[in-house]
Symmetry: C2
Subunit: 313 residues, 2 copies
Amino acid sequence: MKFAPRKFSIIFLLVWSYSALGQAENIAEKLGYPKDAKMLIIHADDLGMSNSENRASIEGLEMGPVNSASIMVPCPWFPEIASYAKTHQHVDFGLHLTLNSEWKNYKWGPVSAKDSVATLVNSQGYFFDNVPEVVQKGDPDHVEIELRNQVLKAKKEGIDITHLDAHMGAAMGSVDFLAAYIKVGREFNLPVLLDDAIPAMADTKIQEMLGPKDIVMDRTMSANPTNFANGMDVFYTSILNELEPGLNCLLIHLAYDDVEMRAITVDHPDWGAAWRQADFDFFNSKEAKKLVEDNNIVLVTWKMLRDKIVRAD
Amino acid sequence: MKFAPRKFSIIFLLVWSYSALGQAENIAEKLGYPKDAKMLIIHADDLGMSNSENRASIEGLEMGPVNSASIMVPCPWFPEIASYAKTHQHVDFGLHLTLNSEWKNYKWGPVSAKDSVATLVNSQGYFFDNVPEVVQKGDPDHVEIELRNQVLKAKKEGIDITHLDAHMGAAMGSVDFLAAYIKVGREFNLPVLLDDAIPAMADTKIQEMLGPKDIVMDRTMSANPTNFANGMDVFYTSILNELEPGLNCLLIHLAYDDVEMRAITVDHPDWGAAWRQADFDFFNSKEAKKLVEDNNIVLVTWKMLRDKIVRAD
């Protein structure tokens, strides 16, 4: 079945919702919440990347309010987090689909046979380190092959995948990449993280792909280097205090400021070891839980979105 | 040029050495030492495997008496040690040619395109975890391809490779594997670690490959779980006190007993984090240096063997 263009769907739904047929349910209502609920996914990225990231993310997920995370299948510590995910099926794990290897001294490459995704691989056999190079050199067919193989590998490991998203946005870096990413999500009946702020989203090709079961965030938020410089607690406190109604996703990165993480992120303080420790410290504090509660924030998971919307009849 | 059979060479040399032509030089003499010198390479294995292994091995090499090491090209932290090797050309670095991925939660696979070495790869795309499975399933042609690609990758990174050896002996695991390993050494004019204690060495095919420029250890030594249980200092002290004349190689594993190393070696105390810390502690002690000195041990490097024997006119 071909999906109707999304912009068209929205207009159609608006017309329809004020018609005699009654009002269409928005995402909040589909999940069983009031239609103006302030929904939030507090989502840890980069699991599988290092042992430090795995340990801190597991601790964050077990203590809350962090309630969802995504795993990088091509990374060295993938088997560790896959083993945890397999034995903790109630924890919300998606895949952080990965097309680049950004650190200086610690590398990974594709899950696929290298020559089947040759345009994604540098002369050392790793992914390119930066997203612009991936987007410039990568053949969208190779992107599709690699994304699919990452999903297949995770499934084979017994992970109950709740969603897909894109490490550093590489898999959303062009219209054709984004189309491949959405297509792979469809194949496995999985929601993929989408947001109208992604430049390629505006393209007709993408809009024509989208339908009412696609999950498009109202807001996707993440700390930037200025936020880090001003203090993560200031940033996250204001995010939670000022959260607007709708579906919101806050992307964070949990790891310890330890020797391994400092070595991986050497020469790169942004998204570095101290940054990730600051994320961990904030979201493992009583204050974070209290802010969620005081602001009547409804924590929703990708599993809810998958099962009640994407996989609903 | 085809090399004369080695056993034949030895007999020939013995006859020749007592002839009117004078006595042939043994390895010690070729390196400029008395012929009964107690030569020793104190060799750190597994570099590139983890950040902890890299840091501890570099510290060991810089402090002495550890004087040689080998690098695992397929491992996640290879770029870190390659970068060090490139800028520290005086340090003796070979390659620890790798065909297996033995730890539970932390994995690597071939440097080659996976489908070009399909018999070396498990269903998850990694090397097999145990050597018997590599030997049973691995096609020797695939072994040759992978070993060559590991050398080519290290050369491309600017490492001045002094020798080749074999991680957990996998590349010496059968006559055909050993033949591929020796062949790749020849191609790059590099010494490969050989020892008559390797079972496949006795095979005619191998003996026919060997010539007077091949470096066969008189003794290759390494701690085993019983040695570890009885205390590494006891074991290494006796090794150094009882060292016999000839060419000796002592294989050790330097890492810190830290969080990363404990996570990698989880459920496997043998060759685990504490084991590697014990190796580090012994060889970074004043006692180790004093034992080398007191026993008139001559520390030789693979670079000396490469340049004065394998690459000599």
